[in-house]
Symmetry: C2
Subunit: 340 residues, 2 copies
């Protein structure tokens, strides 16, 4: 196969670094204090992240344009990472999460620097605005084939709309967990990036359709894996405490499956832990065991396997370039079987 | 002359109304709760506002394209109004302003609906996000001549960047008042819209340059007028209490001029009122008198007149269409001599 994931990640990181350098110079000339906001965005963005969206985007591009210039995906990949920074900055403030990517959340950094909660939160929202503006600027510079530009811009706007609607449902603790997940990660994590990559490569309608049918189960698989890791993941690998999502009372697919299948007494235990502000490690361990013993975990894993098999099947029959198909298969393995 | 300002306003209002209707239907299919955010944005946007940016944009268009389709400016005009809604929603929360355009601010509406300050603020930030996404979507649909699209998109991104940097300086109570104003309103209120209109009309470089030289003093004049009204405006017309800006301790051009020209004792009186959380009506009245008696008001008014004369002079020598020049002259009168 052509490029490794590592090469894709290096390329988007280099593009981001150069872009931030440009913005540092531009804002220096504009305003004496703007540097603080630019650094907050740059630091969070370069702190890490799995760069799954750039990888998905590049795979979508390669699937339709196996010999095109590899650089063609960098600007939109960077735009996706900045869109992600913008959402992370806002979500962390909204959810009162103090850590992100192994460091302090942006509203925490800015609150410490200015010694004022409201001012720190307001500056964080402005840092998020800056990241959003950067995302659109990078998108605008992307080398879409002229005829595909409107579709590319529309795909980006649609992703933005879906994530905002998903975050709203999350804040309202809406009962339809699947819909919240679908909106927050469905189009944004997998389908959107695949489509944007394919449009950069001037895909045919049949190719766009195949990638859409591949991306749908892959996005769901990604979410199921995320939920499984949040509850059963190894704390030494995920970096989160055991049973993290249960502790946080998060509405995951596992919780939905448990609610649908457990008896009344077990369901009550589940709700007690989820509602509890600080459940004990023992309560968490017992509930985790219950989810295993009752077959909830196995059923969600079986669903995940089914989704992966389905996505793989779609690929087998699609009119996509072998170089891209290999990359999409690798993506499938990476998304669905990742351990952190 | 061709169109009246009223016609321009009606056209952008119709475009906005149709767009919101489209978004209502789209989000209804997407998420059961999204309607609340869409309505918050639509309601604030349609509640009023002077539509100065659409008027400036249309005048810029007419100045270079006197016989072009009047509809060509509607999408970008609507985009500017949504950008404005996004900034207003955020600023009102940041500044703890509870009223806007004669009704409750968006974070107040949403806090009342959900009975929780943090949730109300978070939902307001999401409503702002939605407005920003709408603004970019409308921009993307705008009928720029293909060759001018990159400049149009860049002008929009630049405005966004400047306003965010200006709002940051405002939050930090930065001492350079002129820079804060320049960033918050300079490019965004006048120069940006004029440029976008001219690009929609496929302006020549000389025309863009003339509009830039016209817009610079006009933007400053707009700001001076705003500051004069905020301090000396008639409460029955402005809808704000007498001496509103002094009461709020706002760093206006009048305050900067007073600091530079008053004696030590008077300067101390000024700072006392500005620092006071709730100055008495008498203190406000005395300070207002002082600003008149000491000639501060007259000097700011003279500056304003100078700016208007300068802008008018630029127009007289510019290679712009007479239909557009008439509209720009009317804009100058409207901006610099408005009483609310």
């Amino acid at each position: 196969m052509g490029e490794s994931f590592e090469q894709v990640v290096q390329r988007v990181n280099a593009h981001l670094a150069a872009y931030f350098q440009e913005k540092r110079l531009e804002t220096q000339r504009l305003s004496p204090r703007a540097g603080e906001l630019v650094e907050a965005v740059a630091e969070l963005t370069m702190r890490g992240g799995k760069r799954l969206r750039p990888i998905a985007l590049h795979a979508g591009y390669r699937a339709v344009c196996p010999s095109g210039d590899a650089e063609r995906t960098s600007a939109v990949s960077a735009a996706l990472e900045l869109l992600q920074s913008y959402f992370l900055i806002q979500d962390d403030w909204m959810d009162s999460d103090e850590e992100r990517r192994g460091g302090p959340a942006v509203h925490i950094v800015l609150t410490r620097a200015h010694g004022d909660d409201k001012l720190g939160a307001s500056l964080a929202i402005l840092a998020g605005d800056l990241a959003a503006g950067f995302a659109f600027e990078l998108l605008h510079r992307a080398p879409f084939p002229a005829a595909r530009l409107p579709e590319g811009l529309a795909a980006f706007s649609r992703m933005h709309l879906e994530v905002v609607c998903g975050q709203q449902l999350d804040l309202l603790e809406h009962e339809d967990v699947a819909l919240t997940h679908h909106l927050k990660t469905g189009s944004y994590t997998v389908r959107g990036p695949l489509r944007l990559g394919a449009l950069l490569g001037d895909a045919t309608p049949a190719q766009l359709d195949a990638l859409e049918r591949f991306g749908e189960p892959l996005g769901l698989a990604f979410q199921l894996r995320d939920d499984l890791l949040g509850t059963f993941g190894d704390p030494r690998i995920t970096g989160k405490p055991a049973g993290h999502d249960l502790r946080e009372g998060k509405q995951t697919v596992l919780v939905a499956e448990a609610r649908a299948s457990l008896g009344a007494a077990d369901r009550e235990r589940l709700e007690r832990v989820l509602d509890h502000a600080e459940p004990s490690p023992r309560e968490i361990a017992e509930l985790t065991d219950l989810l295993v013993q009752s077959g909830v975990r196995a059923r969600v894993e079986a669903k995940l396997d089914g989704l992966v098999a389905h996505a793989s099947q779609v690929l087998a029959g699609a009119a996509l370039a072998p170089e891209g198909t290999q990359m999409l298969e690798a993506l499938l393995a990476r998304f669905a079987q990742r351990d952190k």
